[in-house]
């Protein structure tokens, strides 16, 4: 009885996944005149190589530091070290990821061979770290709000859940219009509501705002789903427990702390696992709204995997990214499991 189901899973999930692992050790391209070759860990090395370089500021012939016209220190060009410099073989071909000043005048550079990928990893982790608690917490608040006995509460619940039913592709395109710099709803509405005091923000075109805007939209779209899961957890808590707490004279917060929250443990695990998985799979929003820009500030791991594998036809590179993502998610879920088991 299991065979059709399992057969399909093997064929359409496990087999593709295994081939991704194998492909990640080759130099396969989608269409290529050259035969495929085994290249070992080269793809992973390419993706993961990072280096650190600390530079002293440029000095003139007197030994004094050189400053540009704004008074900032000038440093030697990185290219001198990363290109064909036999003294620095380990950072050959790397580019700057970010840098900061240390001590007096020195500057430390974090370098990566594949800057875009590392940025994608950082953005994805940031996305997960904000969305998981943010969306989970907000969903719980909504669930508590909606779990009261009020006339018409079902209508509110239905409205909160509505965006879940709408495709993320549709949502992304719609919000692209809402976020639009010149003709977008958000800017125009805010500025007319504040009588012009609000200065338009380039929500998805500005490196400072782009990822945040996508986070807000993603939470807006999915929070209703998790609200319903919390709600189902809330409704399994027997009313007699609340009555007991009331007789004991517990405050609202104490009731939540000692009755509600302990009753929601399993639900909490489910909600956070699901959100984390979904957050790691961040793709469609990026694909429809920003294509990773501006300046790679919204690159995500899955977007990179697809862009390389399909867009640039670099199947092996894309596969290596997929495998790395799998390893990361696996580690996190094992950690999560260990943490939740350790406590019970």
């Amino acid at each position: 009885m299991i065979s059709p189901g399992f057969g399909l899973i093997v064929f359409f999930i496990i087999l593709p996944f295994l081939s991704a692992i194998i492909l990640s050790f080759t130099n396969q391209r989608l269409i290529s005149p050259n035969p495929t070759e085994y290249v070992g860990l080269a793809n992973y090395k390419q993706l993961l190589s990072v280096g650190v370089l600390t530079l002293d500021p440029k000095r003139n012939s007197n030994g004094a530091v050189v400053r540009d016209k704004n008074g900032a220190l000038k440093y030697p060009r990185l290219r001198n070290f990363t290109r064909n410099n036999p003294q620095y073989p380990h950072i050959k071909g790397m580019r700057e990821l970010f840098s900061w000043n240390v001590g007096d005048n020195q500057r430390t550079y974090i370098l990566a061979r594949d800057v875009v990928f590392i940025k994608a990893v950082i953005n994805t982790l940031l996305f997960v770290l904000i969305v998981a608690p943010g969306q989970g917490g907000l969903a719980l608040c909504l669930a508590l709000l909606i779990n009261q006995k009020l006339r018409g509460i079902n209508i509110y619940r239905a409205i909160y859940f509505m965006p879940v039913v709408v495709s993320i592709v549709v949502v992304s395109l719609l919000w692209r219009f809402i976020y639009d710099y010149e003709s977008g709803l958000l800017n125009n509405l805010l500025s007319s509501l504040t009588f012009g005091a609000f200065e338009s923000v380039n929500w998805i075109g500005d490196t400072d705002f782009a990822l945040g805007s996508i986070i807000v939209m993603s939470i807006w779209q999915a929070v209703g789903f998790h609200m319903v899961i919390w709600l189902s957890g809330l409704q399994t808590i027997p009313p007699s427990l609340y009555e007991a707490a009331r007789i004991e004279g517990a405050s609202k917060w104490q009731t939540f702390r000692y009755v509600t929250w302990p009753g929601l443990r399993n639900t909490a695990v489910l909600v956070f696992v699901v959100i984390t998985m979904q957050a790691f799979a961040l793709f469609t929003q990026i694909d429809v709204m920003t294509n990773g820009g501006p300046l790679d500030s919204t690159q995500s791991i899955v977007f990179q995997a697809v862009e390389r594998g399909y867009g640039k036809q670099d199947i092996s590179g894309g596969s290596a990214i997929s495998v790395l993502l799998f390893v990361m998610v696996l580690c996190i879920s094992l950690l999560q499991r260990w943490l939740t088991q350790g406590r019970s």
């Binding site: 549709v170 977008g184 997929s322 696996l330």
Partner: protein, 297 residues
């Protein structure tokens, strides 16, 4: 605690609650209202309206012109048909296959069952997008025997949009969870009466599985109807394209400047409003079944 000892205070509290609930409702509803209203306005008015609350009202020059334009740009009828076909066939097959697998995991004892179940659970954490490319390679080489004989390669077909999505870990997991919560005595009583496993599945378990069938169907429907990346890469022929891929036709306007927002909103409304309307019609049962299949305790 919340006894209405002071009627004024109680009334005020009630009003506050409704105000809070309504403000949140507005946050969830405004983009969708905006989408529908915009679809009815010519581009110029549409852009002008964004700077006032008119954006959410059907005022000014209201017409279905955008819809007509969208129809002439995209074969909407064909795409809706394709999406409905692919979605409904997948949902039906998925319910059958996954419930059967879930049944086997929940009730039958066989060697390697727990290992296999762990493997299926582990597939949860593989985002589809990351295996899309290897899957493209595999499906492009698969054989098929159909009415028109033997062929190689599944690209540009309905089946390439259906078969890979029939079985998935989440759906199987939902069924296993639900089946394990059914009273085991019912199954044992049936076994003592001399049923085959197939009869237990058909006569006992499935009739008792309304909520989980509904939830699995809903979740599968949403996944399938909203398919985007996969059909984009495996279907090059218009004949087999689903609705989400239709959006591509509008992306062309992005690069040419002068984005036809009105038309886009019309298309978005066309593919979204029917689903939303259906959802609102059955929302009570819908949310109840999702909640019932959630977690216990």
């Amino acid at each position: 605690m919340s006894m209405p000892n002071n009627p004024d205070n109680y009334g005020l509290r009630l009003v506050t609650r409704y105000v809070v609930l309504t403000v949140i409702a507005i946050i969830f509803a405004f983009p969708l209202v905006f989408m529908i209203m915009s679809s009815l306005k010519p581009d110029q008015q549409l852009l002008a309206d964004t700077s006032s609350l008119k954006a959410f009202l059907p005022v000014g020059d209201i017409s279905f012109q955008n819809y007509e334009n969208a129809f002439s740009r995209v074969p909407v009828g064909l795409f809706v048909f394709n999406s409905m076909l692919v979605t409904s066939v997948t949902v039906v097959l998925s319910l059958f296959v996954c419930s059967l697998s879930g049944f086997s995991f929940a009730y039958l004892k066989w060697r390697g069952r727990d290992l296999l179940f762990s493997i299926i659970l582990a597939t949860f954490i593989i985002p589809f997008e990351t295996i899309a490319i290897p899957m493209l390679l595999i499906t492009s080489k698969l054989p098929w025997i159909g009415l028109d004989g033997f062929s190689i390669g599944w690209l540009n077909t309905y089946r390439v949009q259906i078969v890979p999505f029939i079985a998935d870990g989440l759906t199987i997991f939902l069924f296993v969870q639900y089946f394990k919560d059914l009273p085991v005595e019912l199954i044992e009583a049936a076994r003592v009466e001399g049923t085959t496993w197939w009869q237990i599945y058909r006569l006992i378990v499935i009739p008792l599985s309304g909520p989980v069938l509904a939830t699995a169907a809903i979740l599968k429907f949403l996944v399938m109807y909203n398919q985007y990346l996969w059909p984009m890469i495996v279907v090059q022929q218009e004949e087999y394209r689903p609705v989400m891929v239709g959006l591509q036709y509008f992306f062309q306007t992005f690069t040419k400047g002068g984005i036809a927002w009105g038309e886009i909103m019309a298309y978005l409304s066309m593919i979204t409003v029917p689903v939303l309307a259906f959802y609102l019609y059955i929302q009570r049962a819908f949310i109840a079944s999702v909640a019932a299949t959630g977690v216990k305790g």
